[in-house]
């Protein structure tokens, strides 16, 4: 399973499958200039940094941070 698929699978229960894929696609393009399928583990930190503001809006900073750290540990 690719990094983008792993991330999307972990975000989907919280924000839905479609939004999870769109977030990853949007952050990958904007922050890294890459397509989602080209993402590798070394892109994880900038990806998580890019996802943070979106998740913070819906869950607050503390909860978003907890969730992103958990996701970061799981896909490493």
């Amino acid at each position: 399973m690719s990094l983008s698929q792993q991330l999307a699978a972990r975000l989907a229960p919280y924000i839905g499958d479609f939004n999870a894929q769109m977030w990853i696609k949007s952050v990958a393009r904007r922050e890294l200039g890459l397509a989602p399928e080209d993402l590798t583990v070394r892109h994880l930190t900038p990806l998580i940094d890019g996802l943070r503001p979106f998740l913070q809006t819906l869950m607050g900073r503390s909860t978003a941070e907890n969730l992103l750290q958990q996701i970061g540990r799981e896909v490493h």
Partner: protein
């Protein structure tokens, strides 16, 4: 299961309310019914306040949704205070004390503005969170126009009447004008709320959005019921109060759903993070 129960609660409450209202009407007519509807109005305002502040409690200062829920909770408290003040003769709708009436009017306006601020903040979250709304720009436009037409049809005539009363120097109509304008704007904001809920459907975060949207739709039904000609409905069926209860209870359910969602995510994500480790606020 917990979220489904929250979603079902306002509907069960409405059924129970209709049954008790009919019973009160059959026993003692209008006096018993008025007393019952007033007490249930206070009860649903208290419940809505509890829900809003439960939601506030799971966020930190600076979080976008904390501010939104704080405005909604604040607005509900203010309208609750206004309703309680109405128990005193000077503050009653037909009370003779002009100063008391100014206080009641000011509280009504404050409450409307606070609730509008809360709904406004919720309704712009989709943009801040880069949520992809279904139907794209054209879909958004179609739903927005349809909602605006419904909002104007339902509340427009009342707003125009109250505006004419205000122009004739009846300052007690000011709160009704502000309320009608706020109603129109708030009803228009159903579009982004509804589309956000649809976009998030099936996910955990969708619950509070869906329930807030249900609350706003119930306010729309309240406006429709309140604009009906007197005598059109059976005397023992206070339909506007049914929808008011539905709207406030859905706000309660939405606040509680927000609380449970955040706690569920926290449990799934492990131990809480120390505040110093957090990044800058989104706002």
């Amino acid at each position: 299961m917990r979220f489904r129960s929250l979603a079902a609660f306002p509907l069960l409450y409405a059924v129970l309310f209709i049954a008790i209202a009919a019973f009160a009407w059959s026993l003692q007519g209008g006096v018993a019914l008025a007393s019952f509807t007033f007490s249930q109005r206070i009860l649903v305002r208290v419940l809505a306040t509890v829900g809003c502040f439960a939601a506030v409690s799971c966020f930190e200062r600076g979080d976008h949704l904390r501010s939104a829920w704080l405005w909604l909770g604040g607005g509900t408290i203010v309208i609750l205070i206004r309703d309680l003040l109405r128990l005193f003769p000077g503050f009653a709708p037909q009370g003779g004390d002009p100063k008391a009436q100014i206080v009641v009017t000011a509280l009504g306006i404050l409450s409307n503005l606070a609730l509008l601020a809360g709904i406004w903040m919720l309704s712009r979250s989709w943009k801040m969170a880069a949520i992809t709304l279904p139907g794209g720009r054209s879909g958004f436009g179609v739903v927005a126009v349809a909602t605006a037409v419904i909002a104007l049809t339902v509340t427009g005539p009342g707003a125009y009447t109250h505006l004419q009363e205000l122009a004739r120097g009846d300052w007690s109509s000011l709160v009704l004008v502000v309320s009608a304008v706020v109603d129109i704007i708030t009803l228009c904001l159903i579009t982004p709320l509804l589309l956000t809920a649809i976009s998030l459907r099936g996910s955990l975060v969708a619950w509070p959005w869906g329930l807030v949207t249900a609350s706003q739709l119930a306010w729309l039904l309240y406006d429709i019921a309140a604009s009906l000609r007197p005598g059109l409905l059976p005397a023992g069926l206070p339909l506007p109060e049914v929808f008011r209860g539905l709207a406030e209870n859905y706000l309660f359910a939405a606040g509680m759903a927000q609380y449970f969602v955040i706690h569920q995510v926290r449990r799934a994500a492990g131990a809480p993070v120390a505040p110093g480790a957090l990044g800058p606020a989104v706002e």
